[in-house]
């Protein structure tokens, strides 16, 4: 039997995958933001567990960063945006839920194949979770493709970043601190820029539905 810290880490990885599917199927945008916060929390838990097991100091720091930024601040900001912009539900997605789920399952299989060479190379105890990290990235990508509402796409974008972060953690116990700080800064700025952006879009169109943003096409 694996040591129980490892078991808990595996559990976190599996929960991340489950959360990705939950996000994929969720139609209410507020719930989507909440799910993103939960994903951040699971990520924090995984980071802390890993930090404790490996004794890597900088992981504590990145766990703190995650909890401040991805569990508290960004969801708060997004919820505030939703309230101020009066958005509740996404319009019907481009592909129905069951179809999306099936594509999602195929994606996980693909991600598994993709992860094989990396898993063989990595020497971390968490390397088996790399496949799950890739799945989370690709599932977030799928979510961005299938959603119409701008906020849902943004949550997809953020969840993709979470997947990348988890990948870095499971493949090499995180990136160098400079890079991690830079990435966190970029994500923060991205969300702030998007906040400004949403208001601009709504001011112009009175809605955040992206079908307004489909007029720039090639002319024949």
């Amino acid at each position: 039997m694996l040591p129980w810290g490892q078991q808990l880490l595996d559990m976190c990885a599996a929960l991340l995958l489950l959360l990705s599917f939950a996000m994929l199927s969720q139609r209410r945008i507020v719930t989507l933001v909440n799910l993103y916060a939960v994903q951040g929390a699971v990520l924090t838990a995984a980071t802390l567990l890993l930090a404790w097991r490996t004794g890597e100091r900088h992981l504590y720091l990145s766990a703190a960063l995650t909890i401040v930024l991805k569990v508290t601040f960004l969801p708060w900001l997004l919820r505030r945006l939703l309230r101020r912009l009066d958005i509740y539900r996404d319009s019907e997605p481009r592909l129905n839920v069951t179809g999306t789920m099936l594509v999602g399952l195929l994606i996980v299989v693909f991600a598994f194949a993709l992860a094989q060479p990396i898993t063989r190379l990595a020497s971390t105890s968490t390397r088996s979770a790399i496949g799950i990290a890739i799945s989370v990235v690709l599932l977030a990508f799928l979510m961005m493709i299938t959603r119409r509402k701008a906020v849902a796409q943004v949550v997809g974008f953020l969840s993709m970043e979470n997947g990348v972060f988890f990948g870095a953690m499971s493949a090499s116990y995180g990136m160098p601190m400079v890079v991690e700080l830079g990435v966190a800064l970029d994500v923060l700025i991205a969300v702030l820029v998007l906040g400004v952006f949403f208001f601009q879009i709504r001011e112009q169109f009175d809605s955040l539905d992206l079908h307004h943003l489909e007029s720039l096409k090639e002319h024949d």
Partner: protein, 485 residues
């Protein structure tokens, strides 16, 4: 010291203009900061010429022939664009398309954008390179949407989402690179992403993981280069944003993104011992050249036209890097330089032309030569230069690329030639009636700044006739570096 100045000046400029960017003198302050940056870049170049490669700031910064010439180019085009934007943005203000508040945003973000570009170029850390590239996207998103029109918002959204997703792939690629490097360089962590260290051990990196990393990075940074099929943000962002931003996007951002791709290619090729990266670059490059050339015919908007032309030329440079070898790399570097200078000068003249005609639709822009001979000639000469008419520098680089292709990849030569011919006829047939023909237009409240246009074209012309020996030496050194010695 020079480096510190080079990076600090635009950062300070961004902070200062965030406060004072709405004042009457803000365009001059903007230009002043850009000039300071350019001076610092010159000092850095002189330093590198005298003392060779530099490794600074606990090895976090690295200057070699490849990036120092791009630093110089970036700072130079940054300066001339700032000069151009001075009267241009005043006219936009007078036409009521902008408010002073947005002008402040514009100036501050312009400096921030310069900072991220220079950081991306000078850093030795592949992770920081990523951070800087993402920063460049973020600082320009709000510039693309500066006019707040439906079109510009859509362009900005597309730009953000596509490049955001792309850049996330690049981050994943960077992580894979780190995983592979950590194995060889040991787990001290800090040095495992430094390009110089990676370059030293590239032969021992795990090939399969590196191949995967390269695919992710190529998709990620390739989105920003505007390679087909990841290009769809590029024409929109160029057409809907303010013209100075189109000029720096085309002239600088694409170059820097291509720089990132080439940096990763050097590492991967050293590890892989196969031609996979080369074939990928050639494939993407050729697709971009062909698709962009065909799409050029369908354009009605003058800025979209030249945006597609940028895709085409970036594709050409990518193809050349893909072929590899000293001559092709040399040609690609030269092409990056001359394209950057020519394209930004074209956007300068096109900007003035659209302001005079009050529209970006080419059918309604007529008779520029009677309205303002300098704008007309600027556009005409620029177009001639970009389609590769001798004796401009673009001709030299395209000639080099084509002759190399004939030798190394003969199958691609007819395709490239056909695409270039299509692009030539498309651009020429659209520009000619705009410059000559019946005049339409109005007088502008501020005199256009056409000095940058002709300075750029003059440099391109000179480069076509004669490449100064130290520049040639540099290109050769850089080409050798990219070829992996």
């Amino acid at each position: 010291m020079d480096l510190l100045l080079l990076l600090l000046l635009p950062l300070l400029g961004a902070a200062f203009l965030a406060g004072a960017g709405a004042s009457r003198r803000a365009p001059e302050i903007n230009a002043l900061f850009s000039f300071g940056t350019f001076a610092a870049a010159c000092a850095l170049i002189v330093h590198v010429i005298r003392h060779g490669d530099l490794l600074l700031g606990e090895q976090q910064f690295f200057i070699d022939p490849f990036n120092v010439f791009l630093v110089g180019l970036t700072a130079f085009v940054g300066l001339t664009t700032a000069l151009f934007s001075r009267p241009y943005m005043r006219v936009e203000l007078a036409h009521g398309r902008l408010t002073p508040g947005r002008l402040r945003l514009y100036h501050s973000m312009y400096q921030l954008f310069m900072f991220t570009m220079l950081l991306a170029l000078t850093t030795n850390n592949m992770g920081l390179l990523w951070v800087a590239m993402e920063g460049a996207t973020l600082s320009t998103v709000l510039l693309v949407t500066l006019y707040r029109t439906p079109g510009s918002l859509e362009a900005g959204w597309k730009y953000f989402i596509l490049c955001g997703v792309g850049i996330a792939q690049a981050l994943f690629g960077t992580i894979l690179l780190y995983v592979a490097a950590e194995k060889v360089l040991g787990a001290q962590g800090v040095t495992a992403l430094l390009w110089t260290h990676l370059d030293a051990v590239k032969g021992r990196l795990e090939p399969k993981v590196l191949a995967l990393a390269f695919v992710f990075m190529l998709v990620g940074y390739g989105t920003k280069v505007g390679l087909v099929p990841l290009h769809s943000w590029l024409p929109d962002a160029h057409a809907e944003g303010p013209t100075p931003i189109s000029a720096v996007l085309s002239g600088l951002l694409l170059n820097v993104a291509l720089y990132a791709v080439v940096r990763s290619k050097v590492l991967v090729e050293g590890s892989l011992h196969s031609r996979l990266p080369s074939w990928l670059l050639m494939g993407f490059g050729l697709a971009s050249v062909v698709v962009a050339a065909l799409l050029l015919w369908r354009q009605r908007d003058i800025k979209r036209l030249f945006a597609y032309s940028s895709i085409e030329h970036m594709g050409l440079a990518t193809f050349a890097f893909g072929m590899g070898g000293p001559i092709a790399n040399f040609a690609a570097l030269l092409h990056m330089t001359v394209h950057s200078l020519t394209k930004s000068s074209i956007f300068f003249s096109a900007g003035h032309a659209t302001q005079k005609a009050g529209t970006q639709v080419m059918e309604h822009i007529r008779g520029l030569i009677t309205l303002s001979p300098t704008v007309g000639w600027g556009l005409m000469l620029g177009s001639l230069a970009i389609v590769g008419v001798p004796p401009f520098g673009v001709f030299t680089s395209e000639f080099l690329i084509l002759t190399t292709a004939m030798r190394v990849q003969p199958w691609a030569t007819p395709i490239l030639l056909a695409a270039l011919a299509v692009a030539f006829s498309a651009i020429f047939s659209k520009v000619q009636p705009m410059v000559f023909g019946e005049s339409s237009g109005r007088r502008l409240p501020h005199q256009p700044a056409l000095l940058p246009v002709f300075v750029h074209l003059a440099i391109v012309l000179v480069l076509g006739l004669y490449i100064p020996p130290y520049l040639a030496h540099w290109y050769r050194a850089a080409a050798q570096l990219i070829g992996g010695r």
